[in-house]
Amino acid sequence: MKREIPILLTVLCGLTIIWSFFSNYPKADAANTELLQWALIFFSVAFILGITNLIRVSLKQIAAKHNDSAYKIILLVVMFAYLFIGLAEQHEWFGPGSLFGGPGDMTVKDWVYRKMFIPLQATMFSLLAFFIASAAFRAFRARSMESTLLLLAGAIVMLGQVPLGEQITGGLAPRWLAFLMVYINAAGQKAIIIGATLGVLATGLRIVLGIERSYLSE
C-alpha cells in the first residue's frame, strides 16, 4: 500500500488537472482550483521544513565548532529576530507602532528591508560587473571555431545593446544584434523549447500513468 496509494493519488490528481484544462465543465474547474490550493499549502509547509532543516544543519555545525560557526550564529540570530519583528508587527503584539515604530515613517521590518536587504542584494549583483570583466580577460579565448563565434556574438550583443555601440558602428551594431536575436537566437530557442516541452509532456504522462516512479525513490 505504501506504493499503491501515492501512485493512485498522483494518477487522480494528474487526470483531474488534464480534464480541467481541456474541458469547460465547472466541477472540473472547481476540483482543479482545490488541488492548486492544496499545492500552495504544500509550498508554504515546505518553507517551514526548509527553515527546520536550516536550523538543524546550522546547529550541527555550531556544535562541531566548524570554521563557519560564527556565520551560522549570525544567520540564526538574524533569521529569528526578523521573524519575530515581522510577526510582532503583523499581529500588533506590542500595540500599533509603539515598540516597533521605526525611524521616520518606516517600521523596523521595513527599515531592515530597505536599508539592509536591498543594498546587500544590489551589492552582490553589482559584483558581477567586476567578475565578468576579469573573466573576459582571463578565460574568453578564441580557441576554436565555436568559441570564436561565441566571442563575436557576445561582442555584437554588447555593442548593439548600448548607445555608444550604435554610435561608433554607425548604427550597424543594433542591426546585427536584431539579426542575431530574431533569426538565429529565436530559431534556436524555439527548437529547444519544442524539444524540452515534448520531453516534459512525455515525463508528465509517465508520472500520471504511474510508469515513472522516481519520486517514490524507486
Partner: protein, 285 residues
C-alpha cells in the same frame, strides 16, 4: 598564457570601478533610438479603453531592481495616467514592498484610490503553481489583500473580476527569472488567451524573441528597453518620469563604456594568448 594568469585581477576591478564611478559622477545623458518591441509595449497599453483592468505582477527582487524598477515605475505612471485599473500580484517574496512604495508615491499624482483604482494582493508562494491558481481563480488565490487584510469582496476592483482571468484585459510582468514571463505564458497567456507584456532582465531578454509577438505582445529588454519606454511616456505623463528617464539615460552611457572595457579586455586577452602561443611554437622549432 602565464602572463594572463599571473596578472593581478585587482587592476581590472580597479579599472572597472574607476570607470563606472567617474562616468556616473561626471557623465551625461544620451537619448536612445526607438525599438519595435518597446513601441509595441507602449501601443498595447495605449490601445486599452479607459477603465480596463491590468494585472501587474512584480516578479523581481532588489538584485534586479536596477534593471526592472525603472520599467516598473514607468509602467505604473502610464497605467494610472490612462485611468486603467491595476491589480498587483507578486510571485517573488521580496517584491511587494516595492509595489506598495511605488503605488503610494505615484497613485496620488493621478488621483487613483486604493480598492477602486488599484489593489495590492501581495506575494503568493508556489511559483508556476501560484500563477496557475491566480489564472484559475483570483478569489481563491487571494482571499485578502496585502495592505490591511481587507476581504477580497470588499475591494470594489476585485469584486468585478471572475475566474479564468475574466475581466482582466492585460497581464504585465516585471520578470527577473524563474518564475517569470515564461511561466506566465505557459500558465495564463496560453490557457486564457490573456495578452501579456513583460519587462525583463538582460539575461532573460533573448528568451522572449521566440514568443514575440504572439504569446508576448511587447517587451522592455533590460535597462535599454526601460530607458526607451521612459522616453516614450515622458511627454504623456507631463514630465513625471523625467528624473527617472535622465537617470536611466546616464546609466546607459556608463553601461556603454563598461561594455567597451570588457570588449577591450577580451581583445587584449586574446592577443596575449595568440602571441604567447606563437612565441612558444617558435621556441620549440
Amino acid at each position: 598564457m602565464a602572463a594572463i594568469h599571473d596578472f593581478d585581477r585587482r587592476w581590472i576591478f580597479l579599472a572597472m570601478g574607476v570607470l563606472v564611478t567617474t562616468l556616473y559622477t561626471l557623465g551625461s545623458e544620451k537619448a536612445l533610438t526607438n525599438s519595435e518591441y518597446v513601441d509595441s509595449y507602449y501601443a498595447t497599453i495605449e490601445a486599452l479603453p479607459e477603465g480596463s483592468v491590468v494585472m501587474l505582477s512584480a516578479d523581481f527582487d532588489p538584485a534586479s531592481a536596477a534593471e526592472l524598477l525603472p520599467a516598473y515605475t514607468a509602467t505604473i505612471h502610464h497605467l494610472l495616467k490612462r485611468n486603467l485599473k491595476v491589480v498587483n500580484v507578486a510571485t517573488w517574496p521580496p517584491a511587494p514592498p516595492y509595489t506598495r512604495e511605488e503605488f503610494y508615491r505615484i497613485a496620488p499624482m493621478y488621483g487613483a484610490e486604493y480598492g477602486t483604482d488599484w489593489t495590492a494582493m501581495g506575494f503568493l508562494p508556489g511559483d508556476d503553481v501560484a500563477m496557475g491558481n491566480i489564472g484559475q481563480s483570483l478569489r481563491s488565490a487571494y482571499p485578502k489583500d496585502d495592505v490591511d487584510g481587507t476581504e477580497y469582496d470588499n475591494l470594489p476592483l476585485m469584486a468585478g473580476l471572475g475566474d479564468n482571468m475574466e475581466g482582466v484585459d492585460l497581464l504585465i510582468t516585471m520578470s527577473a527569472g524563474y518564475p517569470g514571463i515564461l511561466e506566465w505564458i505557459a500558465q495564463v497567456g496560453g490557457r486564457y488567451e490573456t495578452p501579456i507584456l513583460a519587462a525583463t532582465t538582460a539575461v532573460q531578454t533573448p528568451d522572449l524573441f521566440a514568443f514575440y509577438p504572439n504569446q508576448c505582445v511587447g517587451f522592455l529588454g533590460a535597462a535599454t528597453g526601460a530607458t526607451r519606454y521612459l522616453q516614450l511616456i515622458d511627454e504623456l505623463t507631463d514630465g513625471a518620469v523625467e528624473e527617472v528617464k535622465l537617470e536611466n539615460q546616464k546609466r546607459m552611457m556608463v553601461q556603454s563604456w563598461a561594455h567597451m572595457l570588457i570588449i577591450l579586455l577580451i581583445v587584449v586577452g586574446n592577443l596575449i594568448y595568440f602571441f604567447g602561443a606563437k612565441g612558444k611554437q617558435g621556441a620549440k622549432a
